[in-house]
Symmetry: C2
Subunit: 269 residues, 2 copies
């Protein structure tokens, strides 16, 4: 299949995925008794949707499709950019900051990037404020199941990659309890795309399960404060280390779309 | 005078300056009817003091004295590091986040850095949440007076430098209303040191004047919200662009001392 065809198919999936994720989140709001809906913000490279809900104090679900050129410095180490910095990319990324400190912050992303080569990347990870070993165990069990159904080697590899990526060296702290993360996936387009679709669907399943289990729990002021401090770490990670954020801001992207991932509020001690 | 002697004299001034600044801030708290005092945090490279007050929701005043080596990448472009990355530095830096949105956030820093060469750097700038043209005019008038008493060319130069430095390109926004900023000042040690002392003293004068004028003003929820959003920009600047923050975190500095500049809380829309 030629690359144009692949891009068309992948893009169509990402558009659809954004819709399903938004619907699922609005459904969770409804179950909670809230009528809050997403607001859509179109711009030249896509469409980012923000909800300010009762369950999700702030949630962002972005679809993007960018055709551009990597800045020279950034292109170093990116496959297929030796003689040409041009790229095509499309993806969906999600960051959810729930109001209830018992519900963890959730992050998900899948993307397809084309230079002279083309590959998939993505993953998801969880950032609880209040530790819950059962939740951690179940989350990783589901991710292992997902990975194992594609390749028995994936889970360990992608879990490690996630732990390494979502780490704050200056704090010597992990951002959360990890998840899976992969990049430069270009073994077999059909199989890789199946994995990417499965990651998206599993995210929706986990998002619902985790939220439904905890969204009605009561919380104390102290627990809310723990959440706000944890959100401060989230901000530090995104602005200091996140590659996507750095790339987007340095290449003149839309700051509102890029910084959609910021929490609604945060605290520092 | 040999460099050791200069370092001793400068360091003594910075220790003293930290004390005077903290006393002035505690005095402002007292005038407001608060008994809040600074807490001192000693670590191997200095002493940072934090106040969580009634006037200053969070204020940090740090004295530091670091002897170390610049990382290779960072050393590029720094004078006197051609054959040797070692440095000696000492300085005082201040970031004040007032509770009242009518009182602007204030930033000040002066430092002395020695490699094979040695120079002073520093400045101050103001970040109001609610614009006040009179305040802006007066602030710059005082800074011009200060600069002019040393050299008629300084004010324009240092004002421009400040505007250029405290700018958020991704937002296309200035951080605040500017001030003065200078670096690599190594014309004449005695005169440069006089300027640095004068910048410190003027900061204390302005800090008092600006705070006293506004600390008793009433504010609305809307004004508090504007402040929290503005603090979000402050966070973005510090984590994305500030050279000191980047250098400190990358070189294994104490994150609590370096991130002392973070606001107590912030919001993103």
């Amino acid at each position: 299949m030629d690359i144009k065809k692949k891009q068309k198919i992948v893009k169509k999936w990402f558009v659809e995925l954004q819709n399903i994720i938004c619907k699922s989140i609005e459904q969770l709001e409804k179950e909670y008794g809230s009528k809050k809906k997403f607001k859509s913000n179109k711009w030249k490279h896509g469409n980012f949707r923000i909800i300010e809900g009762e369950v999700f104090e702030k949630g962002g679900v972005a679809f993007s499709n960018v055709i551009g050129k990597f800045p020279k410095n950034f292109a170093k180490g990116i496959p297929g950019t030796k003689n040409n910095n041009k790229f095509w990319s499309s993806g969906v990324s999600v960051v959810l900051h729930p109001k209830n400190p018992h519900v963890p912050a959730m992050h998900f992303n899948t993307r397809f990037i084309c230079t002279k080569k083309s590959w998939f990347g993505g993953g998801m990870d969880l950032t609880p404020c209040i530790s819950d070993n059962n939740q951690k165990k179940n989350y990783h069990k589901e991710l292992k199941k997902l990975c194992d159904s594609h390749n028995k080697k994936y889970y360990i590899k992608y879990k490690k990659w996630c732990d390494k990526y979502f780490y704050l060296p200056h704090r010597k702290e992990a951002r959360g309890i990890g998840g899976i993360f992969f990049d430069y996936k270009m073994e077999n387009w059909k199989k890789d795309f199946l994995l990417v679709k499965d990651v998206g669907i599993t995210f929706i399943y986990l998002l619902k399960k985790i939220t439904q289990k905890k969204m009605f729990l009561k919380w104390s002021k102290k627990e809310k404060d723990i959440q706000l401090l944890k959100r401060g770490r989230y901000v530090e990670f995104n602005l200091l280390y996140d590659r996507g954020t750095k790339f987007g801001l340095n290449s003149g992207g839309n700051p509102k779309a890029i910084l959609m991932s910021m929490p609604p509020n945060a605290k520092w001690k």
